[in-house]
């Protein structure tokens, strides 16, 4: 499409939120805008936010679904605190999201749905588009639905079908405003609706009409330009956490030469891992949708026993159900990857919202002394490497591993530099093939005779002659592995299982501290998906002229071996988490450090601005100074963050 004669203004970053009814196609709209943005070369981070109900009552606040995308000409870490632009498809979407906007933000509303009935459903007494309540914002009222219906009338669709293309009209308008490439979306629509030409053509027409409307109407005077970001060399793609995690599991299978077996039960927000892996049978992947969570992990343990890479994927409630079976994998010392895509809890909690409150469940949620290694990715793309790492630990050490993702990582996306296969670790399953105890006619296979370096036991799979053996949940005698009730043996085996997990620290990297000035008195340490917000908060504090150090944990059990030393190097340690202080508890317990928590459990990622204030406050205390963050304490888009 041709360039515009309108004024073009440069921006370094923009945060857009698309919001509408859960049937309005906001996730698709956001996803398409993201793909266009990725193709354009901006750095980006996304935050989908949708209700647990598939179709909540239309037009109501609980039914609002939104998709936020933050994109920039530089490297960014979060989906942004406050949107610069809100696209609201109905009164409920406006009302539900208005509170997140900063003054001066742009609001584009579809006036079509601002009927008396919908206003009432959203809880408005008066039409907010008519009074002065939105005067602080740059409000654009557009009859998106009406124009969409007009634009697609040649295709003879019903009014309902015609108006459903309004999300593409909105996408076209926003694509024009921010100079996004349109080819990815038109080819996407052609493919998606290939079997229904009328719908395909209507969506393409609506998309183009939205673009042309932006270009021709006087209502939008400015087009914005956000230059591509400078990123390290490599091949990039935009990827969500669940997709990256599924790819990581396939990579773990290829790198170990073990066929992947996923035993699982559908659960939000983990189901997409099952959906994705079920497409990759050509890699030898078997996916088993079990009758329940327990059968999912049970089948994965069975497959591991039979020599496959057993994986089970779930969320917190599923981990609760699988706990006993994970304990069995601890006792039988079989490789197993347990993926927990955390969501708000307890109980059913907030199925579609994010939280990181399963850390202690992962750490301790089993009967007896049942240590399980824990690995946590820090961003959507990082889910790939974290999954490979979980597979490496599981296979090398013959142990279940908990891989703690969360809802934000699972559904959020970012540009990901695709690694080459050479960069991935080679994982050696080292199956046992020979008897390992005694010699000659007396030779036997002892299933609990351990490797001296790793303390891993031999993994002899059925079909291996001469190594027939029995394992199970009862305590095993050291070495021979027969049932043992001997008190000293039990004490020894409990300590040995713990020692084996502790030994993993020998093969994980030391924790690195980002402390550019070397003068920081405060260390901010986190784990999992808080990496982005913490990093953004730290940048703000540094921009304001203060010193702060940052470190982030990928391995939660065992911790990197230098962690205690690192913590002791700082006067104060801040631990931001989307829970009530679970990592804080572990750090305090293990290292006797006075960790200060910053904790929110709102079902949403932490915000960079609030973290900047929390960090600033602690820096002030540590250095005995007053902290003034100035503009760096405001959620504004004007500055280079």
């Amino acid at each position: 499409m041709s360039g515009s004669a309108k004024q073009v203004r440069q921006l370094d970053r923009v945060i857009i939120r698309f919001a509408g009814d859960s049937g309005d196609g906001m996730q698709l709209t956001g996803d398409r805008f993201t793909q266009e943005t990725a193709a354009f070369g901006n750095d980006l981070v996304t935050l989908p936010n949708f209700p647990a109900e598939i179709r909540a009552p239309q037009g109501t606040l609980p039914g609002v679904s939104s998709f936020q995308v933050h994109f920039a000409d530089h490297d960014i870490l979060t989906a942004g605190d406050a949107p610069d632009v809100l696209v609201a498809m109905n009164p409920a979407a406006l009302r539900a999201n208005l509170g997140d906007l900063h003054k001066g933000a742009t609001i584009i509303v579809d006036t079509h749905d601002f009927t008396a009935r919908n206003l009432t459903k959203a809880g408005y007494q008066d039409n907010p588009l008519e009074g002065d309540s939105l005067d602080a914002y740059a409000l654009h009222t557009v009859d998106l639905t009406g124009m969409t219906v007009e634009a697609v009338k040649e295709f003879g669709l019903s009014r309902k079908d015609a108006s459903r293309a309004k999300n593409m009209f909105a996408l076209g308008l926003l694509s024009w405003m921010y100079g996004r490439p349109t080819d990815p979306t038109t080819s996407f629509l052609a493919k998606r609706f290939a079997k229904v030409p009328d719908i395909r053509d209507a969506n393409v027409a609506a998309f183009k009409a939205g673009w042309n409307f932006g270009e021709t109407t006087e209502a939008f005077a400015v087009q914005y330009e956000i230059k591509p970001a400078v990123m390290p060399p490599g091949t990039y793609r935009n990827i969500t956490g669940n997709l990256a995690l599924a790819y990581g599991l396939v990579a773990g299978s290829v790198q170990s030469g073990l066929p992947l077996f996923l035993g699982t039960y559908p659960i939000t927000p983990a189901s997409d891992i099952l959906h994705e892996l079920s497409k990759h049978k050509s890699f030898g992947v078997t996916t088993f949708q079990a009758e329940d969570e327990i059968a999912g992990v049970g089948a994965a343990i069975g497959a591991s026993y039979a020599g496959h890479l057993g994986v089970t994927s779930t969320s917190g409630p599923g981990v609760a159900l699988k706990s006993e079976a994970i304990g069995l994998a601890v006792m039988t010392e079989l490789p197993l990857v347990v993926v927990d895509v955390q969501r708000g809890g307890p109980s059913t909690g907030l199925p579609t919202k994010t939280e990181q409150a399963d850390l202690l469940q992962a750490m301790f949620g089993r009967n007896g002394e049942a240590p399980v290694p824990i690995v946590a990715p820090q961003s959507p793309g990082d889910c790939f490497a974290a999954a490979v790492e979980a597979a490496r630990i599981a296979v090398t050490y013959r142990t279940p591993v908990l891989l703690l993702s969360d809802g934000y990582l699972a559904n959020g996306s970012e540009p990901w530099r695709v690694p080459t296969v050479d960069e991935l670790p080679v994982i050696d399953p080292a199956f046992a093939t020979e008897k390992n105890h005694g010699s000659g006619d007396e030779a036997e296979f002892w299933p609990y005779l351990r490797d001296e370096a790793t303390l891993a036991r031999p993994w002899a799979i059925p079909g291996t002659p001469g190594l027939e053996h029995r394992i199970g949940g009862l305590e095993k005698g050291d070495g021979h592995g027969n049932i043992s009730y001997d008190p000293a043996n039990h004490d020894f085996m409990v300590r040995t299982r713990q020692a084996k997990v502790d030994r993993i620290a020998d093969t994980i990297p030391l924790i690195e501290v980002d402390d550019p000035s070397g003068e920081a008195k405060v260390l901010v340490i986190g784990w999992g998906s808080t990496y982005g917000p913490i990093g953004a908060g730290v940048r703000r504090v540094r921009k304001a002229g203060y010193h702060v150090a940052q470190a982030h944990l990928r391995h939660l059990n065992p911790f990197p071996s230098n962690l205690g030393e690192v913590l002791k190097g700082y006067d104060k340690v801040l631990v931001p988490e989307m829970n009530l202080g679970q990592l804080s508890l572990l750090l305090r317990g293990k290292y006797l450090v006075d960790a200060v928590g910053y904790n929110h459990v709102r079902g949403l990622p932490l915000k960079a601005t609030e973290l900047a204030h929390a960090i600033g406050e602690l820096v002030g205390q540590a250095e005995g100074i007053d902290i003034e963050l100035g503009v760096w304490g405001e959620p504004t888009q004007k500055e280079h963050i």
């Binding site: 049970g298 069975g302 002659p465 029995r470």
Partner: protein
């Protein structure tokens, strides 16, 4: 294996349950299948008889020992795998069918057995049992039914008769019991049989048929617990009463029982089920002929209902149902094989190249 309806129709026979399991190099003995572990059941426990029968039966299967896997749950009978020198896993309560499903699906070259009890299979693990049966995973489930909880010292089980006085039910149990055979037929199991711990010959015959069946075979084994439920099966074991108590089922044979075959089964026009009649009162053609291969489980279910739900005075014994249906694991492997056949090679280099193509797929851009 008895004649299949497919071969009768001139169609190829269903694959045997152990067809893909490597055969032993030569004759084997029961001793080879006996582990060095001391057997620790109570004296007189029915489990000993079943263990002996299995140990002496396994050599007849003619399979390589290392390709046999026994998986159990929790309970007295679930100690079984420790006493067999095969591969084995003594797992957690009720979950053996799910673990066995993973093993059987992962590996076509293994003969997979589940050993479970009435509490393990029908109470805590009921869900896994019915789903294994409906999926028809290639494995044989030996359900030791002693109608009591033994390992936890004598509480009533899901197969105990109503009104049973136990430690946990001093005024009598209130629950209506499961009939394991009816339950399995309701779950559309493809092989359902019942046998008795003390009848080595019948037990062995049923085991052979179960192992030969491709799919999930459920074998209910009446097993006496001499400590907590002694005599539960006296009626069918006592030489004086067993002729009247056991209704023997043999495919293709008229169902007659009782002293001198005085009783038989006939269709019950009133209920649509079956009932017991005196042979002398029934015309030859009206005696029910057992058809274990009927695709419709209705008649097998009707026969299963002749089992007493209270004290066991009568019970049908034998193979209730044996039909052919594609197994879950064969089909799962076939889907994988079909997908793999669409790609060039499956060597390491090829896998790496395809992995690179997978993760580097989608809309990508390159920064130099």
């Amino acid at each position: 294996m008895s004649t299949s309806p497919l071969t009768e129709l001139g169609l190829p026979a269903m694959r045997s349950g152990t067809e893909l399991v490597p055969a032993a190099d030569g004759p084997q003995t029961g001793k080879e299948f006996t582990s060095d572990q001391e057997v620790r059941w109570c004296p007189g426990c029915g489990d000993y008889a079943v263990l002996k029968a299995v140990q002496s039966f396994l050599p007849d299967l003619g399979l390589r020992r290392e390709n046999i896997v026994f998986v159990s749950g929790i309970g007295c009978s679930s100690r079984f795998p420790y006493y067999l020198d095969t591969y084995g896993m003594h797992s957690i309560h009720g979950r053996a069918p799910s673990i066995a499903t993973g093993i059987a699906t992962a590996r076509e070259d293994l003969s997979v057995w589940v050993v479970t009890g009435d509490g393990d299979a029908l109470s805590i693990g009921g869900n896994h049992l019915i789903h294994a049966l409906r999926r028809n995973v290639n494995m044989t489930i030996l359900l030791f039914n002693n109608r009591i909880y033994g390992l936890t010292k004598g509480q009533y089980s899901p197969t105990s008769e109503t009104g049973k006085v136990t430690k946990s039910t001093p005024m009598g149990s209130l629950d209506h019991p499961f009939n394991p055979v009816s339950l399995a037929l309701g779950a559309e199991a493809t092989f359902v049989a019942r046998t008795i711990d003390s009848d080595r010959k019948h037990l062995t015959t049923v085991l052979a048929a179960a192992a030969a069946h491709r799919g999930t075979s459920l074998v209910e084994i009446y097993q006496n617990c001499p400590i907590f439920n002694d005599g539960a099966f006296d009626a069918i074991k006592n030489p004086d009463t067993k002729a009247d108590a056991i209704i023997p089922l043999v495919h293709g044979e008229p169902v007659t029982f009782g002293v001198d075959g005085a009783k038989c089964l006939v269709r019950d026009e009133t209920t649509g089920g079956v009932k017991v009649a005196m042979r002398a009162d029934v015309a030859d053609d009206d005696v029910l002929v057992h058809d274990a291969h009927s695709p419709d489980p209705t008649m097998a279910f009707a026969i299963s209902r002749l089992t007493d739900s209270g004290y066991l005075n009568t019970s049908p014994i034998g193979i209730f149902r044996q039909v052919e249906r594609a197994t879950y694991d064969d089909q799962a492997r076939e889907q994988v094989a079909t997908s793999r056949s669409t790609v060039s090679d499956n060597d390491t280099a090829d896998q790496s190249a395809r992995l690179a193509a997978l993760i580097g797929g989608g809309d990508t851009w390159t920064i130099l």
